[in-house]
């Protein structure tokens, strides 16, 4: 068989490395005993569904300040430029586009199982060597998931390398920035628990993204552990406006534990997101609902595009604008809120697990909203606009 131009063989101390892998696997199986919810069927198709993607992105609530927060990386240069206002606007637009890339959600796919694919059995080669041989095609420009990596076992069998060896060899020849060949000790249960206790959620998730591929079992275990911890500590704001918020919401909706997140959204007055979360819940669990709510909300609430908030001049002549700024809501927002209220309320009545808590939160928000509404109309009258 020929595999491209560069063939490299090396007698790897494969047997030794396999032992290491076994140890890490054991560690993981120990930590997985604690409330590890698996995806019972492949979540890939529903996650990549454009409707779901749209909902998840909207729930993330992108804030440019958080996306472009100060990072301490070795190349941290700043460029100062003189610009006309048109150029400035163009730059803002570019920055918003780049932000879109920076909050790309890590894909959710099902766990890939190892399968043994034997190419040939050559008993004549038995005891030729007392170590395995790993043969890797290191041609430049091949995607690392397509790269051919084979193993010649000591008994002469030639087979495709298992995932753990593939990952290691790929990392040796085509290193991923930030990925370690040995598993960082941070992901061992005791250290992971400490990191969780210190609420280093974003750090753990970022590192897990780099260290693991989305189809690895360890990745699923670690992310679910983090999501569960967030669900208990209720620090959803830590992930809001990061790339991990979408997958988290997806996980909650899939496993029907959205109550706490919904409660947080209601409390923070992100009613539209609450409605979206409920819609996501219905969609993932195959429950029929009135899909027209999306259109209704869309027409009423402009997608809060971050560029506009940056570009809009602060002083405005328009009275409507001024009142809106004073109260924080416009007439459209109020009607949108009413629609969301109804939508969430039906969910709370039928499907919610923490009914009382959610109902109380809804009640409280409704009262404050009514007050704001009164104030809004009062101000309008005072300014003589009907």
């Amino acid at each position: 068989m020929s595999f491209g131009s560069n063939l490299r063989m090396f007698a790897n101390k494969a047997s030794l490395c396999c032992n290491v892998n076994k140890v890490t696997l054991e560690l993981f199986s120990r930590c997985s005993t604690v409330a590890f919810l698996q995806y019972d069927k492949d979540p890939g198709p529903s996650f990549s569904n454009p409707d779901v993607q749209k909902l998840l992105k909207s729930m993330t609530r992108v804030q440019l300040e958080k996306v472009y927060k100060k990072r301490s990386v070795s190349d941290n240069t700043v460029e100062y430029k003189f610009m006309t206002s048109e150029q400035l606007e163009k730059q803002f637009r570019k920055a918003a586009e780049r932000a879109e890339k920076l909050i790309q959600m890590p894909p959710i796919v099902k766990v890939k199982e190892d399968s043994q694919k034997v190419i040939s059995r050559d008993p004549a080669l038995t005891n030729f060597s007392n170590t395995k041989f790993v043969i890797a095609d290191i041609t430049y420009g091949v995607n690392s998931s397509d790269r051919k990596i084979l193993v010649r076992q000591t008994d002469g069998t030639l087979e495709y390398a298992p995932l753990s060896i593939r990952k290691r060899i790929n990392q040796i020849y085509f290193p991923h920035p930030g990925r370690k060949i040995r598993l960082p000790r941070m992901f061992e249960p005791e250290h992971l628990n400490r990191c969780l206790a210190n609420f280093q959620y974003e750090f753990i998730l970022d590192r897990a993204c780099v260290q693991f591929d989305p189809y690895e079992k360890e990745y699923h275990e670690i992310t679910t552990k983090v999501y569960n911890h967030i669900n208990e500590s209720k620090r959803f704001d830590d992930l809001r406006s990061t790339r991990h918020f979408g997958p988290m919401a997806f996980y909650f909706a899939w496993h029907q534990i959205i109550d706490d997140l919904l409660y947080d959204m209601i409390k923070q007055d992100y009613l539209k997101n609450g409605a979206e979360l409920v819609a996501l819940y219905y969609q993932l669990n195959g429950i029929d609902y009135d899909k027209s709510i999306h259109e209704k909300l869309e027409t009423l609430v402009q997608p809060q595009s971050t560029i506009q908030s940056v570009l809009k001049p602060k002083a405005s002549d328009d009275m409507h604008e001024e009142i809106k700024n004073a109260i924080g809501k416009s007439a459209e927002d109020f009607t949108a809120d009413d629609i969301s209220f109804e939508f969430i309320e039906t969910f709370v009545k039928t499907k919610a697990l923490k009914k009382v808590q959610l109902e109380l939160a809804l009640q409280a928000l409704r009262e404050t909203n009514d007050e704001k509404k009164k104030l809004y109309h009062g101000l309008k009258k005072a300014h003589g606009i009907s």
Binding site: P45, P107, V109, M186
Partner: protein, 203 residues
């Protein structure tokens, strides 16, 4: 309080005081100046001592191993606060050298045969309660640049070569264990790699 007076810190009382919760810490001058200005207690010591190490020698002795837990507690204590104030551990340290330009590298080590072998030990060696360890996050953080996220060079901090090596190792370990957070490189996913293939295989 001038910079030179920071040179190193009177040892024995501090340890006891710190453990007792007593926060007072004393600065002393360099050992070379130490004998010329005679506080009364020090003068008493040589009279009583026959073979016992003098106060001066005791202050330079570094054979005692301080556990990390003590060091971690020390960095949070009032004694530490009083010694360094708002400054970082290395910020007020100045190297001694002849001429205008300091040698490119700092000295190899400040401690030889368990004793401080220099009058101006580096910021880590001079305070024996600063223990470089991966769990001692408060100390390690002081040596990491907030701009680049890398360990600051010894040409800036003045740490001796041996301690600098130790520092690099403990920072690396701390990152491995998740004690120190850092900015992870961004990973961009190619969605087609994860989703399109499946659709093809289904067909």
């Amino acid at each position: 309080m001038s910079v030179i007076n920071f040179a190193f810190l009177a040892r024995p009382n501090i340890f006891r005081n710190f453990l007792k919760g007593n926060t007072s810490r004393i600065f002393s001058l360099n050992t070379t100046n130490y004998s010329t200005e005679e506080p009364p207690e020090v003068q008493e010591a040589p009279e009583t001592v026959t073979r016992e190490p003098s106060e001066k020698e005791k202050a330079r002795d570094r054979t005692k191993v301080i556990p990390v837990e003590t060091s971690i507690r020390y960095l949070k204590s009032a004694a530490y606060k009083e010694t360094y104030g708002e400054y970082l551990v290395w910020e007020q340290y100045r190297r001694n050298h002849k001429g205008m330009f300091p040698p490119r590298k700092t000295r190899k080590t400040c401690i030889r045969k368990g004793m401080l072998s220099t009058g101006n030990p580096c910021p880590v060696c001079r305070d024996e309660y600063l223990v470089l360890d991966y769990r001692n996050v408060d100390l390690l953080k002081q040596f990491i640049s907030p701009q680049s996220g890398e360990v600051i060079s010894y040409s800036k901090t003045g740490v001796c070569q041996k301690r600098h090596q130790e520092l690099l190792i403990s920072v690396e370990r701390a990152r491995d264990f998740g004690y120190l957070t850092f900015d992870v490189p961004f990973r961009e996913y190619d969605y087609s790699e994860y989703y399109n293939e499946k659709n093809e295989s289904k067909k």
